[in-house]
Every structure is written in structure tokens, then in C-alpha cells.
């Protein structure tokens, strides 16, 4: 089982349990269909970043009030803002299988999420190499909606990236990203290498979550 299959299992609530044979073959089948149908796209920009105090982050003219983000960005002088999406094709697939095969729709949902994460991980790995050459180290991705990083920041982030035009990433009036399989995030860049293993789940205060790593 490869790493994205494992991730999909986690999103499906399997936790540390083994995935049953039937579900696993469905997971494989869904990844195949996604690989065939969707195209991951990303847009990113680098901005100057500062953390004036413990509760605020300033990045490229955007002022964010968030203790969690400020903690994550401490010591960074630049930051990446990024947006990525699997596009509307993924949404269509899920809609379609919601009508004919609900278990597949649910598995597709999980596989789509895992696929997007994997795409971002591999992009970040590559970009980290590039940044290292210029003497910068990358922090983990941090997205609006995590902790106290307000989801309403989506609007400014999308505008700063011109994401609608660049990759077709937009949002609803309620700050939901559309297409639904999309992510925006901030990545801190610091001169100093701070070993920082905390990401996603481990950072989250909801310790009773069944999807926790």
C-alpha cells in the first residue's frame, strides 16, 4: 500500500485498523480514475513576512490576526502563499457517484483529499530544495481554518494569487473554496533551520477526532 492509499484510509476513518480487501480495491480504483480525469494545479507567490507580536502576521500587505499562525511563522522573514486545486472534474466525479454508488463517492472524496495533499507535499519538497539554495528553510503548510487562522482570509489570499484566472480556484460567499477539492496555505520561510515536525493533526486542539493521525 503506498502512502496516498494509507492517507485515504485515514480519511475514511480506518485509523490504525487495516483496510478491508473490498475497500482497498475501491481505493485503488478511485485513484486510477482520478489520475485519469483530474489535473492538479498550483499557483504560489513569495512575500515579505513579519510577526510584529504573538498574535499577528503581516504578509505582503495582508494583516492576519492569529496566534497559531504567528507561532508557526515565528522567526520567518518571507512566506509563500499558495493555492492548489484538483479542478471541477473531481467534483463532477463525486457528484456522479453519489447517484450511482455512494461507497465509491465517499472513497473518491478521501482519495481526492489524499491526492491533493500528496501533490502539495511533493511540490513543497521540491520548492524546499530551491529555497535552501537561497538560504531559506520552509515551515509546514498552514491553512485558513486551522486553529484561529480565520477562514475569511481566503478572500484576500485568492486575490493576491489571482487564483481564479491562474488555476480556476474561487470561493463562495461563505468562504468555501470551489472547486471543493482545493487548498490555500501559508508557508513560512526562515533563515534558521527550526526542526518543526508538528503539522496538521498534531497541531490541532481537537484531540478526540477519529481522523487524527
Amino acid at each position: 500500500m503506498d502512502s496516498r492509499e494509507k492517507e485515504a484510509g485515514r480519511y475514511l476513518g480506518y485509523g490504525k485498523h487495516a483496510i478491508d480487501e473490498k475497500t482497498w480495491s475501491l481505493v485503488k480504483n478511485c485513484f486510477q480514475e482520478l489520475d485519469r480525469t483530474v489535473k492538479s494545479r498550483i499557483v504560489y507567490r513569495i512575500f515579505e513576512l513579519e510577526t510584529p507580536d504573538e498574535g499577528r502576521v503581516k504578509i505582503g500587505g495582508l494583516n492576519i490576526t492569529s496566534r497559531n499562525l504567528a507561532k508557526n511563522m515565528k522567526g520567518c522573514e518571507k512566506g509563500v502563499i499558495l493555492g492548489a486545486t484538483l479542478g471541477i472534474e473531481a467534483d463532477m466525479l463525486m457528484r456522479r457517484y453519489s447517484l450511482t454508488d455512494m461507497s465509491k463517492a465517499v472513497v473518491l472524496q478521501a482519495c481526492g483529499a489524499a491526492m491533493l495533499e500528496e501533490f502539495l507535499d511533493s511540490w513543497q519538497k521540491e520548492y524546499a530544495e530551491e529555497a535552501k539554495k537561497e538560504g531559506y528553510y520552509l515551515r509546514p503548510r498552514f491553512s485558513p481554518g486551522y486553529g484561529d487562522f480565520d477562514i475569511s482570509c481566503q478572500e484576500s489570499i485568492l486575490r493576491m494569487l489571482d487564483s481564479a484566472k491562474k488555476i480556476g480556484l474561487t470561493m463562495t460567499d461563505g468562504y468555501m473554496l470551489t472547486p471543493t477539492k482545493s487548498v490555500t496555505a501559508v508557508i513560512g520561510m526562515s533563515r534558521e533551520h527550526v526542526p518543526c515536525h508538528k503539522k496538521g493533526c498534531e497541531e490541532c486542539a481537537k484531540t478526540d477526532c477519529i481522523y487524527r493521525r
Binding site: L12, T23, R45, G87, M92, G174, T178
Partner: protein, 809 residues
């Protein structure tokens, strides 16, 4: 007048403005459109530079000036647009020294939102936003409307319609493609060209996204299909980043050199987009102005008959296409019932199954007496387009339904149908002229159906000629020479086949035919149908309207394509039929019980087991003794954590299939199905994630509840209205985020006001018991099974009564 010059001489647009604005001090994050009022001199100066460089058409600085994108409290949209037009005219006055005629183009860019059903912007709201800008632009004196950088066919349709219906200005539209010739929303080149030409834009093309060099493949494809003049406005190369800034680095000379080749290929109007400057335009003009006369150069595009959906074009050609006929109530009891009960899912599944079976286009007919056909047609077309990328054939005799559907259709539809009656042509052709479409022309008129091939061909000729008056080209008409039943018309098949050949030969048009009518009244109809189908394809049929789920028809189709070498190396044939002869009839596993089939989530086995059980038991006994215990076992396992969500749903799907078998038996036996308790489910206003709600729906249906699914992003008012209308006692609401729980609360508030005794259960990622209590819900379901138990608890009394009633029968 620009239209007199367009397509005859090469016209020059301006280039980018972003870089120039930055040079003049515009800060990142500032709305460029406000500069029309705050920095008039700078704006005029930029326009002047382009006119001096030689541009014929200069765009107003209004790319983001629409109510959906432009949120500035200080300035009115109308003032911005008016000032923008004046600024260009001022620039022309200062920059044109040779007295040449120049034009101010009102620039319209995308809204930055995704349209429904994938996003939350309605087609109508998009239309209104574009309409407002278009009207302001015309009032202010713009000479044309230039819609650009569009990446969504649906959005560009809203923009073009708004511009054409509310102004009398020429309309140009350019889209942004990627290197593979696709829009961000998936559309390909022929689908875009078909859509825009159908909407009768005056020019179309490509802008932004790439540099000139990268545009060649896309441009060549555009030129292959487009019959209207083509616009090309590339960036100054591919974007590069340095220190957080985006820049472009193709210099004016290099840009001009490639652009010269682009004009030689056949572009009719050229300019630049991001990163291009007056220097680029000047160099471009210097290189190409000696050969501005493009009339001789312009190759005529071939006539392609194209229908399209948002993402995919179907181009008619030698290889026959399949139009699926199954979305049609005629002679289908279940389908009629689905229409009456507004069971949209049933209809969508008919579409999906036909796509899986190999259909290229889906016919959509929802006509029934006493049904609001315009509303239903509109709804079904929209919903179908959210689950299938196949183009649709709108099939109706109701002109209002036709117009309603054509207006909101994403793409260039097929229309079924018009005929040789003057009245029919007067009604249908104006719609084709306005919205675009490929229309089926039936060869009948006031005198009925001619019984000779010549007679039918004559009517085809009449239809083609009348269409010409509306500017509808021959390629947008496909002729149906009509299939007559051979049991009543002995020469029917021969006449039809002969007429097929004749219309093709005489007019060179594409043809369609509803095939299955041929065998009406005969035994073993598939044999006659499939053979006639092959004969019709041999006679040159472009598209048969058939049932793609019929194996006989598909066998004819795949065989024909293999025999005629349309199917290279017989690949598709082999894919379909490899191993066919070795296939033994499915062995029914007698050992597996229905209970175990459901527990293991085995659909096929569940089907067979249910059918086998019917020999000895009544449907209700089977439900109570086999199915409910199986579902309970799985449900409990899920709660305990030994069964996981995908397994729970596999079991649910298996149970669903078994239920269908039992339901049929119940209907056959004439027993009334037990009365089901109704539950309304909805994902609340503003929320577009509906997978959780769909899971709950499947499970509730399993347990015998009648779920009224209102979908996602549902207004509180709609939920309340449905609850009142259907007298519903339980409502389930889903919301994913804190921002949408607000609408959940509002919905509950309204429900409490209007309907007493109706319980509300809620669920969704951000909810918990505390939160649910806070917004006044009766129950918080932490997972899908909890909602089933709650529903049973609340509605149990009624349900028990229902079962005992049936038992009494």
C-alpha cells in the same frame, strides 16, 4: 464602423496595462479600476501611448469592473465605467495623429466566481452583473464590447448574452487556454468555438495564459473550426517570478517576429496581454503593416457540425454518433412516475447509465401532460450537466421549454426539433439564431410526410433555405428523414434509406434517425432494429437516436465501426467483446444468503438472493426477517468501530438493490407498498459540500424512509415551504463550516415559526452537541447511523402503524 473592417484588414489591439500602472505607482492590492477616477491623467497617458504606437482598438480599464468583483464603497460602478470610456477617447484624441479611425472597447473580465452547480453564483446573477457593465459602457460611448480572459464557457455565455441582449454594440470574446488547448474548466477548442459562434459573437479568440510561441497549437485548432474572425492577444512569454514579483521577458522584437507568423496563419486582430507594452505593439505593427490586407489570406474554415457541453465537443463526421434515447417518458411507466414525483436522481441515473454504455449525446424529453415543462426541462438540463459531460439534445414541442433550456444550457445544444411547417420554423429558428444550436429538421410539413425519397429531400431543402434567412448555416441543421413502421408501411424502410442517401448527396448535411420505430408491431423487435440500424449507418446516417443499453444495437454499432475502419485496429470492438464467447451465464451463488450478501456489501449476490427468496416468502417477510437484521448488524458494527464507512455504504447499496427486486414483486402482486414516512434533507444555504447529507440519505432510504432531498446550498424558505407542503415531521440539516452553521440556525428559526411539531436533526464537520443545542436543534447526529436511529425513534409510531396496515392486506 469596425465590423466593416474586421476580417478584411488586420486590426491592432493595445497591449497590457498592469505593468504600466505599476510603473506609474499603483500599489499591489489597489483596485486598478479606481484609477480611472483617481489618476485620470496617468490612465489617459497609457491609452495615448498605445494609440501612438498604432493600436486601432484600445480597451477600457474595466477588467474587474463588475458588481461581483468590484467592491469599493467610495466609487460607483457607473462612474468608473463612464470615466474609463472617456479616458480611452481622450487618449485617442491625444495619441492619434494620422486621422485614422480608432475604437474604444469596453473591457469585460470574469467575475472571479464559479457558477452553479459547481460554485454558488447563479447564471442569472452573472448575467445581471455583466448586463449592468455593458449598459454603462454603451451609454458612455464605447464602440464595442470585448469580453476577455474567460476560462468558463458558462460564464462567457452569460456575458455574451448580457452584452447582446442589452446593447447594440459588436461583441468580441476571447478565452484563456492552457498549453494543451483546454480551459481551466475543462472545455476544449471546438466546444468553445461552437458555443461562441452559436451565440453570434462578431469575433472570437485567445488571450493571456501563454506567450505567442506557446499559442500556435491552440490557434491552429481555433482556425480550423472558426468561421468568424479570430483574435490573438498573447502575454509577453510565460510568467516568471523574481522576489515575489511576476514578470514576462519576451522583448518587443521577438514578440513581433512570432506575431507575424500568427497573422500569416490567419489571425484577423492582434495585440498583447500581460507584460506587453506600447513597444511590443509598435514592433508588431512595423513588421506586419505592409500586409494588412488579410482578405485573400483568410482560409475558409471547413463546415463542421458541432454540439458541445461545458467540457466536450462532439464533432459530427463520417463515423456515426450515438444519441441516447432513454430520457423520455414515452411508453415508460417508471420514468413517468419519476417525473411526476420529481425524482430527479432517477432521471440523472438514466443519463449516467447511457454514458457508461457508450452514448455520445443524450436526448432529453420530459414532456407529460399537467407538468410545468419549462421549469422541469431547465432543472433537468442543469442537473444533467453537473453529472455528465455529454452534450444534450433538448427534445420538446413546447417552445417555452425549449427557450428556457437553451438559455441556461452550458454549451451549444442539439435541438429536437423543427420541421417543414412554416409555423414550426417561425417558432424555432429565432431561438437557434439567438442561442446557437444544431437543430434536427424533420422532413414533414403541412401536407404530412411525403412517401417518396424526393418528397422528403424537398422538405429538407425547404428547411435549409428558411434557416438561411436567419443566418443559420447548413452545418447547424441535421435532417431526420423519419423512420416509418414496416408492419404498416411495407416500403417504409426502403424509402427512409433512399431519402437518407438523397439528402446527404443533395445538400451535404448531417442526418439523424430515430431507429426503433421501424419494428413497431413486430415480434422480436431487437433483430429488426439492429439490422435496420446497420443499414442506415451504411446509407450514411450521422447519428442514430437509439437505446445504448440495448446490446443488439451496440453490437451493430461496434461491428459497423470495426468493419468500416472507424475503429482503428478494432480496439473498441475488442475492448467490448474480448472473452465474450467464453462467458458462461452468471452462476448464482446459492450458498450466500441475502443477509450475508448485504452484510458483505455484495450487490449482485444480493440481487439474486432476494429474487430466490421470493419463491417462498412474501416481500415484507424478507424485509423484516433478512434485510433489517442484516442492516442492523452492519449498523451496530459501524458504531462499535469494526465496520467502516465505505463498508457501511456498500451494504447500503446492496440492500438498495435487493429492495428494488422486492418492490417490483410487490407491484406485480398488486399489494400496496407500505406508506413511508417523509424526511426532508438539505445542506444549508451557502454550503456546497453535500457528501455527508448524501450518506445520511442512502441510509435513511435503506430503513424505509421517504427522503425528500433538497440538495445543497438550500434557502431556508425552500426548506420551510417543503416541510409545510409535504407535512413533514422530521428535517435533517447539514453544514460543514462555522460560516454556514449560521444558515442552519436561521433555517431552524424559520421552521419553528412556521411549523410546530417538526423535529430538526443536524450534522456536519464543525458541529457538536453543544453547538447543536445552541442553535436550537432537537438532535445532533455524530454520524450517519445516529440519524437513522433518531428518525426511527421520532417516526417509529407512525412507521409501526404503516407496517401493520400493510400486513392487514
Amino acid at each position: 464602423m469596425i465590423l466593416e473592417r474586421l476580417g478584411k484588414e488586420l486590426l491592432y489591439f493595445d497591449g497590457g496595462t498592469g505593468t504600466l500602472l505599476q510603473e506609474k505607482g499603483m500599489k499591489p492590492g489597489e483596485l486598478p479600476e479606481t484609477w480611472n477616477l483617481t489618476h485620470t491623467e496617468e490612465m489617459v497617458d497609457i491609452h495615448r501611448q498605445y494609440f501612438e504606437a498604432g493600436s486601432d482598438i484600445v480597451l477600457t480599464n474595466t477588467f474587474g469592473a463588475n458588481a461581483l468583483k468590484f467592491h469599493d464603497t467610495e466609487y460607483e460602478l457607473q462612474d468608473i465605467v463612464a470615466a474609463a470610456v472617456v479616458n480611452v477617447k481622450e487618449g485617442a484624441w491625444m495619441g492619434v495623429h494620422d486621422g485614422r479611425e480608432v475604437y474604444t472597447a469596453l473591457d469585460i473580465g470574469p467575475t472571479g466566481k464559479l457558477l452553479k452547480p459547481m460554485g454558488d453564483l447563479s447564471f442569472e446573477d452573472a448575467y445581471e452583473a455583466f448586463k449592468e457593465v455593458a449598459q454603462y459602457g454603451e451609454e458612455a460611448g464605447a464602440d464595442l464590447i470585448h469580453i476577455e480572459t474567460m476560462s468558463d464557457t458558462y460564464e462567457v455565455k452569460a456575458a455574451v448574452l448580457a452584452a447582446k441582449e442589452n446593447t447594440s454594440l459588436p461583441v468580441f470574446a476571447t478565452m484563456i487556454f492552457d498549453g494543451k488547448g483546454k480551459l481551466l474548466t475543462g472545455g476544449d477548442v471546438p466546444s468553445v468555438v461552437a458555443l461562441l459562434e452559436g451565440l453570434r459573437v462578431d469575433a472570437l479568440g485567445i488571450n493571456c495564459g501563454m506567450g505567442p510561441q506557446e499559442m500556435f497549437p491552440v490557434l491552429e485548432e481555433i482556425l480550423k473550426y472558426a468561421t468568424v474572425p479570430v483574435i490573438v492577444k498573447p502575454n509577453a512569454g510565460l510568467p516568471k517570478q523574481k522576489d515575489g514579483n511576476v514578470y514576462y521577458d519576451v522583448n518587443p522584437e521577438d514578440f513581433a517576429e512570432i506575431m507575424q507568423k500568427i497573422t500569416e496563419l490567419g489571425a484577423a486582430a492582434v495585440g498583447g496581454c500581460c507584460g506587453t507594452t506600447p513597444g511590443h505593439i509598435r514592433a508588431l505593427i512595423k513588421r506586419t503593416e505592409s500586409s494588412r490586407d488579410i482578405l485573400r489570406r483568410k482560409k475558409k474554415a471547413e463546415d463542421y457540425t458541432i454540439v458541445s457541453s461545458y467540457g466536450k465537443a462532439v464533432v459530427f463526421g463520417e463515423e456515426p454518433r450515438i444519441i441516447g434515447e432513454r430520457i423520455n417518458p414515452t411508453g415508460k411507466k417508471k420514468f413517468k412516475q419519476a417525473l411526476k414525483e420529481h425524482d430527479i436522481d432517477y432521471i440523472l441515473r438514466e443519463g449516467i447509465s447511457q454514458q457508461d454504455a457508450g452514448a455520445h449525446i443524450l436526448d432529453v424529453n420530459v414532456g407529460l401532460p399537467d407538468i410545468d415543462e419549462p421549469a422541469l426541462m431547465k432543472e433537468i438540463v442543469t442537473e444533467l450537466q453537473s453529472v455528465t459531460s455529454l452534450p444534450l439534445q433538448i427534445d420538446t414541442v413546447d417552445v417555452n421549454a425549449l427557450e428556457a433550456a437553451m438559455r441556461i444550457y452550458n454549451g451549444k445544444p442539439m435541438v429536437n426539433s423543427v420541421n417543414g411547417k412554416q409555423e414550426a420554423m417561425d417558432a424555432v429558428f429565432p431561438l437557434i439564431q439567438k442561442y446557437g444550436g444544431v437543430v434536427v429538421g424533420l422532413t414533414l410539413d403541412e401536407n404530412g410526410i411525403p412517401d417518396t425519397p424526393e418528397g422528403r429531400a424537398d422538405i429538407a431543402g425547404k428547411i435549409i433555405k428558411e434557416a438561411e434567412k436567419y443566418g443559420i448555416p447548413k452545418k447547424d441543421i441535421v435532417i431526420d428523414v423519419l423512420t416509418m413502421t414496416i408492419s404498416s408501411e411495407p416500403k417504409g424502410a426502403r424509402t427512409t434509406l433512399e431519402a437518407l442517401r438523397l439528402v446527404k448527396e443533395r445538400y451535404g448535411v448531417c442526418t439523424v434517425l430515430g431507429v426503433s420505430n421501424i419494428s413497431f408491431g413486430l415480434p422480436y423487435r431487437p433483430a429488426v432494429n439492429s439490422n435496420f440500424y446497420t443499414m442506415a449507418m451504411q446509407a450514411g446516417l450521422s447519428a442514430g437516436i437509439i437505446n445504448p443499453l440495448s446490446e443488439d444495437m451496440m453490437r451493430s454499432y461496434y461491428s459497423f465501426c470495426a468493419l468500416m475502419n472507424y475503429d482503428k485496429n478494432c480496439e473498441r470492438y475488442i475492448e467490448q467483446y474480448a472473452g465474450q464467447s467464453n462467458m458462461a451465464p452468471a452462476v448464482k451463488d446459492a450458498k450466500i444468503t441475502l443477509k450475508s450478501a448485504i452484510e458483505k456489501g455484495l450487490k449482485e449476490e444480493a440481487h439474486h438472493a432476494a429474487a430466490a427468496l421470493l419463491a417462498g416468502k412474501k416481500p415484507l417477510e424478507i424485509i423484516n426477517e433478512e434485510m433489517i437484521p442484516a442492516l442492523d448488524t452492519v449498523g451496530k458494527g459501524f458504531e462499535k468501530g469494526s465496520v467502516f464507512l465505505p463498508q457501511l455504504l456498500m451494504s447500503a447499496d446492496a440492500a438498495k438493490i435487493a429492495f428494488a427486486v422486492l418492490k417490483e414483486a410487490l407491484e406485480r402482486s398488486g399489494d400496496a407498498e407500505q406508506k413511508k414516512e417523509k424526511i426532508v434533507l438539505a445542506t444549508v444555504k451557502g454550503d456546497i459540500h453535500d457528501i455527508g447529507k448524501n450518506i445520511v440519505k442512502v441510509l435513511l432510504e435503506n430503513y424505509g424512509f421517504d427522503v425528500i432531498d433538497l440538495g445543497k446550498d438550500v434557502e431556508p424558505e425552500v426548506i420551510v415551504e417543503t416541510v409545510l407542503q409535504e407535512d413533514v415531521k422530521l428535517v435533517g440539516l447539514s453544514a460543514l463550516m462555522t460560516t454556514t452553521v449560521v444558515s442552519m440556525e436561521e433555517t431552524i428559526k424559520q421552521l419553528r415559526k412556521k411549523k410546530t411539531g417538526c423535529k430538526v436533526m443536524v450534522g456536519g464537520a464543525v458541529l457538536n452537541q453543544e453547538y447543536a443545542d445552541m442553535i436550537g436543534a432537537d438532535f445532533y447526529g455524530k454520524d450517519a447511523m445516529q440519524s437513522v436511529y433518531y428518525a426511527q425513534q421520532i417516526l417509529k409510531e407512525n412507521q409501526d402503524n404503516g407496517i401493520s396496515d400493510t400486513k392487514k392486506l
